[in-house]
């Protein structure tokens, strides 16, 4: 049942996105170099998206009226609040913004330490040996990566606004 609701909701979101995409296509400068022009393809994609989203909604509604859901929603991750997932996502964005400020190496060390801690099973957090391994790898790996890229490939990884 939840999956059907999700499908209807997803269909509506896609229709809205496609409508915005279609409207924005009028900002594209019209060209006459060929018959279709530069607006045709994006507009066609938006129209087809709306058509398919409507079909998806109809499919979902029909399945809903055909009877109750036969089995439990088997898709994983339906918990209300999944802390490791939320923290991983927040960390990813934080990683990006920190890379701009303090550069790749320091940010990567911080990221590896935090991300490993989040993903670590509860029992492992009490094991000194595992913690020591995590700390060592978190420090050594970014330094090693930076060294390889700078010294061998001559590619400068982001140094950050603070150190520029």
């Amino acid at each position: 049942m939840k999956e059907k609701k999700n499908d209807i909701l997803a269909g509506i979101v896609i229709i809205i996105l496609a409508a915005v995409y279609y409207v924005c296509s009028f900002q594209i400068q019209e060209t006459t170099s060929d018959i279709l022009g530069s607006r045709f393809f994006p507009q066609l994609a938006a129209v087809l998206l709306v058509v398919l989203a409507v079909i998806q909604i109809i499919q979902a509604v029909r399945t809903k009226s055909a009877g109750p859901a036969k089995e439990k929603d088997i898709s994983t991750g339906n918990q209300k609040l999944n802390l490791p997932l939320i923290l991983t996502t927040v960390l990813l964005f934080a990683y990006y913004f920190l890379v701009l400020q303090i550069g790749f190496t320091i940010t990567s060390i911080i990221y590896l330490l935090f991300a490993s801690w989040i993903l670590m099973p509860e029992d492992d957090r009490k094991e000194r040996k595992i913690l020591l391994m995590v700390i060592c790898v978190s420090i050594i790996f970014p330094i090693f990566l930076n060294f390889i890229f700078y010294q061998i490939f001559s590619i400068q990884l982001p140094v950050g606004a603070l150190f520029q």
Binding site: L49, P121, F149
Partner: protein, 499 residues
Amino acid sequence: MQLLGGFATIFNVQTLLLMVVGTFGGLVVGALPGLSAFTALAIMLPFTFGMDSVNGLCFLVAVYVGGCSGGLISAVLLGIPGTPASIATCFDGYPMAQQGKSKTALSAAIISSFVGGIFGAIILSFLGPYIAKVALKLSSYDYFGIILFALTTVSSLAGDNMVKGLIACLLGICLSCVGTDGLSSVYRYTFGITKLANGFSLVPVLIGLFAVSQIMANARDKATTKALDFSNTNQNEGEKFTFRDYFKRIRMIIPVSLLGLVIGILPGLGGNISNLMAYSYAKKTSSHPETFGTGNVDGVIASETANNATVGGAMIILLTLGIPGDNATSIILAGFQMNDIAPGPLLFKTQATLVYAILAAFVLANIMFFLMEYFGLSIFIKMLSIPSMLLLPIVIVCCFVGSYCSNNNTLDILIMVIFGLVGYILKKHKYPLAPMVVGFILSPLLELYLRRSLMKTDGHWFPIFSSPVAAICIFATIFTIAYTVYGMIKKKRVEEAKV
């Protein structure tokens, strides 16, 4: 003869060493559940930025071959497929290990992977140049038809629901429109951001959609972050399976190899499907189908032969037509693009040295992974005990480097993270990601060939059908859609009848 030239190109210490590292890395990453050949390629991609085109692409091919072959270890010993391409290997491999025949199952799986891979490589080497020759004679009408067919096939076959597949494909098409229009040079959907003038780069989009979203899913299912426990397994139980034992089953091997190859050629399917289809074929044609699932070595052979033959099929369509069949070949395509090389029929003419070096690398990578797995299995088992809680963040760091290095642009890192989130949401709502990526890659070409075709015909659509190849492809597209819709209706009726 030209293939021998390819071997001559790659037979130098640097390339061989890179290939050994690539195959080994691919095997280790591919063997870890939750990480696939694609993840292995995403991790290794940044390291190719400093290499020349031959070394970089041979390295990626080695990673790809290793990544596709690594999944069998945990599939046999633990019943957990390292990659989705090894799911069917578990069905009989794991029961065999439990019955004390782990050595037989592992050696059968390794030999099967090797023969399947070599079969794919040989077909690719001989068929590739001929397909490329034919492809060179195709017109813009034909290319339009072929790409349209490829997009529809991916969308129809990649998931359970064709509508969702098509929606994902169209989302990819919409995203590909961002940037400068190839024909008229006007900006589309850049909203004044000059860094978007060239559109979204393929590398951050690919890494975000497939690797980052996968890591988010792994973080959600935190249980998978525990290290694999091989302490209760013994890989030395039972008799060793030999090549002679393998070739005794030639009547089953030939059809499953061909099945794997054809599935690889069809965009959107890949090893994830071929191993299951080959297993089901072997079971149906066996004189003892009831033994399948209880430890019949034929099940392991069928699955592993087919999934490695699929790699050759996927490479055929990538090298000759420039169409990526699955997510892993998409990242190899990105590897080509990074070297300013466009895969396609012209490649065999303009970059023959590179093409034959890649073909030779493909053959050699199969030999390398065979030797590594056959003789160094215990080393891999030790490597697989690395806990994922440490490995997943390392993958993310590599993804950040890969995205940044593709253009030396920090905006690409943000694009990767955003696409990771988008990929996770789409996957959670059961939208397949492969059609989105293939739509993103192929739609600029689809638009280009359509507009060029209509320029030729003064805006008339009918002459496009006058080309036999285009007409066949367009009718095949219509047939694919009709057949999938029919299958969906039939499935729904059966389900309703059950209720």
